[in-house]
Symmetry: C2
């Protein structure tokens, strides 16, 4: 990681998220095609258990990655979204840094838009794209519930379907309500029909636009510093956990836990002892 550090920092890290059924896989694949047509090398981290990239739906009729299988400008790595030590916060940044240092122009992090992991991954991206589809109340609900704050770009996929206008209006209304001032980024709404390859050029253009804004506003440095902070903490905490687990340690966590469970101590006193023993 020390050797990679000087080479990292050039890739545009784009997070893609959305509820199942919005056409996320198709859109991701179509976006990869568009970026390749622009000559960009693309790395993909798939942390979505239902994604074809991570193997969840390999036989589905929407799998388009055959298009990219033989393309040397595309690299795909699937990540288990749970079961890892420390979760996504621990493994994803490392994989990101490797792809970044390897010279990919864009790294797409694809994740499913439910629960905590999605917000975690958004914290790792320079630009977060939230996909919704017409007629999916879920998408809008999710947006209301917290995805709105993390979205830099909205994509209304399946934009040829009935209800697409209404979905765009709903999103526009929410964006206007949450406007944070004249200098802040106002998330654009891009309409796509990923299956037909429509609208991806617009999405690619908006990605570039957002990256430029990030650079010029100082937001890129702010986001990446936040990301580095989280990563340093995750590494330090993992190291501490392993120290605390050592048998025979003067403040063995297991012994402290047993005392608390038996009502002989309380967790605050135990935490104090743990911290004192670090010196």
């Amino acid at each position: 990681m020390a050797a990679l550090a000087p080479y990292a920092g050039n890739a545009h890290v784009v997070g893609l998220t959305g509820s199942p059924g919005v056409g996320k896989s198709t859109t991701t694949s179509a976006l990869v095609k568009e970026l390749r047509a622009e000559g960009k090398r693309v790395g993909i981290l798939a942390v979505d258990p239902s994604s074809p990239f991570s193997g969840g739906a390999l036989l589905g009729d929407r799998v388009r990655m055959g298009d990219h299988a033989l393309d040397e400008g595309v690299y795909i790595r699937s990540m288990a979204s749970r079961g890892h030590l420390g979760g996504l916060a621990w493994t994803t940044p490392q994989a990101l840094r490797v792809l970044d240092a390897a010279g990919f122009d864009v790294v797409l992090v694809e994740t499913v838009g439910v629960g905590q992991s999605e917000v975690e991954v958004a914290g790792l991206a320079d630009t977060t794209v939230v996909l919704v589809a017409p007629g999916m109340g879920d998408g809008i609900q999710a947006a209301k519930a917290g995805i709105l704050e993390i979205a830099d770009i909205f994509v209304v996929n399946k934009a040829d379907r009935e209800g697409a206008d209404q979905t765009r209006r709903d999103l526009r209304g929410m964006i206007n309500l949450s406007d944070r001032g004249p200098d802040s980024w106002k998330p654009p709404i891009v309409s796509t029909v990923a299956r037909a390859g429509t609208g991806l050029d617009d999405l690619a253009a908006r990605l570039t636009e957002h990256r430029t804004w990030l650079d010029e506003s100082g937001e890129l440095v702010r986001r990446r510093t936040k990301r580095a902070r989280d990563e340093i903490e995750a590494i330090a905490l993992t190291a501490l956990r392993s120290r605390w687990g050592q048998v025979g340690h003067s403040a063995d966590l297991d012994a402290l836990a047993a005392a608390v469970a038996a009502g002989e101590s309380d967790p605050y006193a135990a935490a104090d002892r743990l911290l004192q023993a670090l010196g």
Copy 2:
């Protein structure tokens, strides 16, 4: 907390979880009624944003807590499921300990069965009850996806509906497949029609049965030690975070993060410096 420690440890902490729509609120309320009829004092921690206890659906026609509003043997506390420092792992154990030390016989922790918070809360309970309903593929999917491992008791609510037999068969099949040996607890399946008050006596009996098994098998001590361990860690880590945030600290986390973001350092080296500065 130190003063409470000697008085805690007597309550039976029961986690209740299930997807929206399975009748969780109705079941919880009917269970409270049953436990009250048995003379038990009941504390309720509602960490489900859609729960009537936490205010998410106060006007819904399923709100039954009017039954308990004037009962001094019932105490209800709603908890925000996000936005708290350290999340549920930080706030819920403290609230649990207070209710425990206050002498409640049963403390019900109610949470919605999606995502990480549900698994976190299961870690806090002595006994975890997972609710499903017939015809909800979601419930079974969730069970397959990880809830099976945390369930001590399954409740098939709305058991008078079509498909209830099939749901029970599916659950039974999964339980049999996951059987872990002759001495392990085999989750029973309880059928309820919470709206009509049917089956709650059976559920209450199974809860008592599981609590007895926990005591006799030594599993109660194991689970509570694990819980204490997690809580001690959460407290210690929160204290560390606050130290690392101090301006002027010799290994200021913000300064380290800025160096990593600029490519001048890597997160592993930064984490090392952070840990060295703790001494």
